[in-house]
Structure formats: C-alpha cells, structure tokens
C-alpha cells in the first residue's frame, strides 16, 4: 500500500521539500472558491481555508486514491461550511449574532451590475437552511456536477436535486424580471 506522501506526491509533484505546502499551493484557490461562493462574503474565507487544510493534514492517512484529492478537499470544505452556517443560524436565532446583510459595495473585482446581482442572490439564499443553500451554491455559483455535490454533501442524488430545486424556485421568483 502506498504511503500518504507517495499519493500526494503523485498528485501534486514531488519537487517541493514540503509536500503539505505543495498541496496547499495547488488547492487553496479551489477550496477558497467553494468557501466564497457558499458564504458570499470574504470575512470567513481564510478561516475556512485554514481549517480545511488543518483537517486535511490530519486525515491524509485515509486518502487512498490520488484522483480523489480534489473531491476529498471539497468534502472537508463543505463539512466545515455547513458547521459554520449552522452555528451562525443558531446564534442569529438567539440574537447572539447580527444577521449578515449581503453587500458587495466594497468588492473590487465585480462591476456594478454584478455586485447588485450577487447581493440579490445572497439575500435570497440566506433564507434557506445550510443543507439547502450549500448544494444550490455548489451547483449554480461553483458549477459543480450534481453527482459530485451528492458525494461531497453525503446525500443521495435525489435529495440534492430536491434541495437545489427549493432554492432555485425562490431565485427564479426573485429574478423573474431578468
């Protein structure tokens, strides 16, 4: 059986002295991309990315297939995001945290229309539970395949489709004029 280092080296190359750092360099943009799409805000992205790689560092022993690295990291990321969103909802329920009001005014990269669109999108999706909004964001903002979403969220394909459809109906209603 190959060691975890052998697998990581096969995936990300072996020239770097530190394989973990090589893994971080290769996959941080992907992990961060999932986090920002799901959260809709930059504030917690660094936290999610670091936590993802911290758990990845601990779990490398369980990795068996090099081709699975990307999905494995996505699964960890989604689990952390779900946890974070659920915690946030509980805090909001008991008025222990302020409700996040989406705003993209300070975003540098997007144009005016895009910022308005994104603000409206997150205003709609944040009404839904994490188990509904996360699959929707992975599908419509990250562009993941349905079977991949089912895998990373640990749900059946039918459940994923149903949860996405719930959010999508609200989105279509909100963007009916688009």
């Amino acid at each position: 059986m190959r060691t975890r280092l052998a697998i990581v080296r096969e995936v990300v190359g072996h020239r770097e002295p530190d394989d973990f750092e090589r893994l971080v360099r290769s996959y941080t943009p992907y992990v961060a991309s999932i986090a920002i799409k799901v959260l809709g805000r930059e504030g917690d992205v660094d936290d999610v990315v670091q936590q993802t790689f911290a758990e990845a560092l601990e779990g490398m022993d369980r990795l068996r297939e090099p081709a699975a690295v990307r999905g494995w990291l996505a699964t960890i990321t989604v689990r952390i995001l779900m946890r974070q969103l659920r915690r946030q909802r509980v805090l909001e329920t008991f008025a222990l945290a302020e409700r996040w009001t989406p705003t993209m005014l300070g975003t540098q990269v997007a144009g005016g229309e895009e910022r308005v669109t994104l603000a409206r999108v997150y205003q709609v999706v944040e009404r839904f539970s994490p188990s509904e909004r996360v699959p929707w964001a992975l599908r419509y903002l990250q562009g993941e395949r349905l079977d991949a979403i089912a895998e990373v969220t640990g749900c059946s394909l039918a459940t994923v489709k149903r949860r996405i459809a719930v959010v999508q109906a609200a989105i279509e209603e909100a963007f009916g004029d688009v």
Partner: protein, 359 residues
C-alpha cells in the same frame, strides 16, 4: 444550461481571489498551527484533571530555560524558550514566542517552529519569523533588518513588509500624527453630513489604532465593532475604502455617516466603475433611511449622469420619480414617470412608477 445559470456562474467568478505566495504561506502555516492545536486538544481531552496537571507542568516548563545560551555569533531559537542577555522574553507559549531586543544588535537563527510564531520587537519594528537567519540592529530611533536565509515579515505601525534573502532595510517609527483639516464637500444643502469627514473626525479624537483594524472587522461582518474604530480614524480618500466605510456605517445602523463617503465616490471619483453604484446607494440611504427625498432625487439623477445606459439607470429613474412624488413635486414626478414608461415600457417598476407619476 439556462441563461440564468450562465449569468450566475460568470458573476460568481468575480468573487474569486488571486492568491499570492505570502497568502499561501499563511494558509499553510495557519493550517499547521490549527492541526497542532487540534491534536493537542485531543491529547488533553482525557479529562479535566489531567488537563490541569498538564497545564501546571507546562507552566513550570515555560518558566525554565531549556536551551543553553546562544553562541556569541548568533542567537539560536529551537522549539524551547531561549535565554540570552541580548533580549527579553515577553511571551513564551505553545503558539507564540515574543522577544524584545535590548542590545543594539543580534543575529537570529530560527529552527522551523511547527506552529509557533516567533516575533522579535526591536524599536518601532516587529519582525515576524517565517523560518530563517536574520540580523536586527537598532540605529537611533530606527531598526535595520537584514535577512540571510528564509523570510521575515517586518511590521511597523500596522504596515508590513516581507524581506527575502539578501534584503536589508531600515524601518523608521511612524511620524507623530498631525491633524489634517477635514475634507469639505462642495454640496451645500445636505444637512445630514456627519461630524466625520472623509479622512478625519471632528469629534474628540480617539486613541490612534491601526487602520486595518476596522477593515478587518468589516470584512468579518462585525460592523458594529468596526464602526467606532472607523469613526476615530476615518477611511482614506480612495473609492474601495470609502465604499467599505459606507458599508460599515450603513450596516451598523449609522446611515447618516455613510452619506459623505458615498457622495465622495459618486461626485469625485466619477471615472471609477463604482461611482454610479455609490450614487444609487446614496439615493436609497437618503430616501429610505434618512427621509430626505430632495437629496435622494439628486443622487438618483446623478446615477443616470454617470451611467445613462448602465444597469442601474432604469431603477434610478424609477426611484427618482418616487423621491419627487414623496417631495410633493407632482409635475416633476410625472415627467420622470413618463420618461421611465417610454424608455422601459416593460420595466419591473412600471406599475409603481405609474402610481408615483399620477398616471
């Protein structure tokens, strides 16, 4: 794939960030530190009594020098707590080792720390070690840092710079702040202008704090905590920061304070792509939050001046009609309503606009 899906995917791509080497280094270091903490927490999770014992033992151990004195040539920092007359140990914990240079000069060789951050305070500078050999020298009020191997991050008054092998730089303490005259806005009849100017507050000055504090709080969504800090220091006169400041003010329940910052972007950075958005937001704040339809009508009109065919033009025209209606200027409201219906006969606000225009 539907048109809506394509639009969302393309729009969401704008959220993705470019990661530079420094940011990636921070991710790796932060992940290692977290993994170490998690591992340590699990080990200590055997029971509260065991944890207390471990904490006591660790506390005793941290007070005991475990490394021989450094060589004359350099200070060697391994995983323990160093002892050397050239510096004081300000903090020694599993997460951080903070030293304060007391001699004019010292060279440090630092072993990879596995999650512990090593910082050296020297004059105005704080040198954060990223795994390296470097020399720190006090020259009058300044600090000179030279790197032989690896990299260090030097911070002075909240501003950081990473030095790489072969680099040597002198860092001076920040000049004593002199109050600047508050920037005045040339729009005279907006009574809502808050006491906070674009860059300086008129209220009694609070203790100076690094400007990045309020920005960091804002980016974490902690607007209520960010606002007092922002009020004390003010944003710099730059669109991104002004818009972020406006976000902080609005979302912390201080819409009045957002007005001059939004107006600054809308009126003075007219070539910036965000000027129209700032004007539109200004109109909404004035109309919805501050009950100032006259100011709002002007702001919505400015949107159409900035981007007559932009994505906000239709809504701005509708909101201008609404503001004029609320102001009681029925003729002007009717004129704008007719213009809206002519330009956007199927616009999503057509029904509301008819009402505001009395049509």
């Amino acid at each position: 794939m539907s048109e809506l899906e394509r639009k969302f995917l393309a729009t969401a791509r704008n959220l993705e960030r470019v990661w530079d080497d420094e940011a990636l280094d921070q991710v790796a270091a932060g992940a290692r530190a977290r993994a170490k903490r998690r591992s340590r927490t699990r080990r200590l999770g055997l029971g509260a009594a065991a944890a207390v014992v471990v904490a006591v033992i660790a506390g005793v151990a941290l007070r005991t020098p475990v490394v021989p004195a450094a060589t004359e040539a350099s200070v060697y920092i391994d995983l323990g707590v160093p002892s050397d007359p050239r510096f004081n140990v300000l903090e020694a914990s599993p997460d951080a080792l903070v030293l304060e240079l007391v001699e004019p000069k010292a060279t440090f060789r630092v072993q990879r720390q596995e999650g512990r951050t090593v910082r050296v305070k020297a004059g105005p500078a704080i040198v954060e070690v990223i795994g390296t050999t470097f020399t720190v020298e006090l020259v009058g009020q300044d600090t000179v840092v030279a790197v032989d191997e690896g990299r260090v991050k030097v911070s002075v008054a909240g501003v950081s710079k990473v030095l790489t092998p072969g680099e040597r730089q002198r860092f001076s303490p920040p000049p004593v702040a002199t109050p600047e005259p508050p920037a005045s806005e040339p729009v005279p009849d907006e009574p809502q202008a808050p006491p906070v100017g674009v860059a300086a507050p008129a209220s009694p000055p609070a203790p100076a704090r690094p400007q990045e504090n309020w920005r960091a709080l804002a980016r974490r969504g902690e607007f209520a905590r960010a606002y007092p800090v922002l009020s004390a220091v003010g944003p710099s006169d730059e669109p991104t920061e002004l818009l972020l400041a406006a976000d902080v003010a609005r979302l912390s329940g201080h819409p009045r304070a957002a007005v001059p910052w939004l107006r600054r972007v809308a009126m003075h950075f007219t070539r910036d792509a965000r000027a129209a958005l700032a004007a539109f937001t200004l109109g909404r704040v004035l109309l919805d939050d501050l009950g100032d339809p006259r100011g709002a009508a002007r702001a919505f009109a400015q949107v159409r001046v900035l981007e007559p065919k932009g994505p906000l033009a239709a809504d701005a025209l509708a909101r201008e009609a609404e503001a004029l209606h609320r102001l009681g200027e029925t003729a002007a409201a009717r004129e704008r309503a007719l213009e809206y219906l002519e330009r956007y006969p199927d616009g999503r606000k057509a029904a509301a606009v008819r009402g505001w225009g009395g049509l």
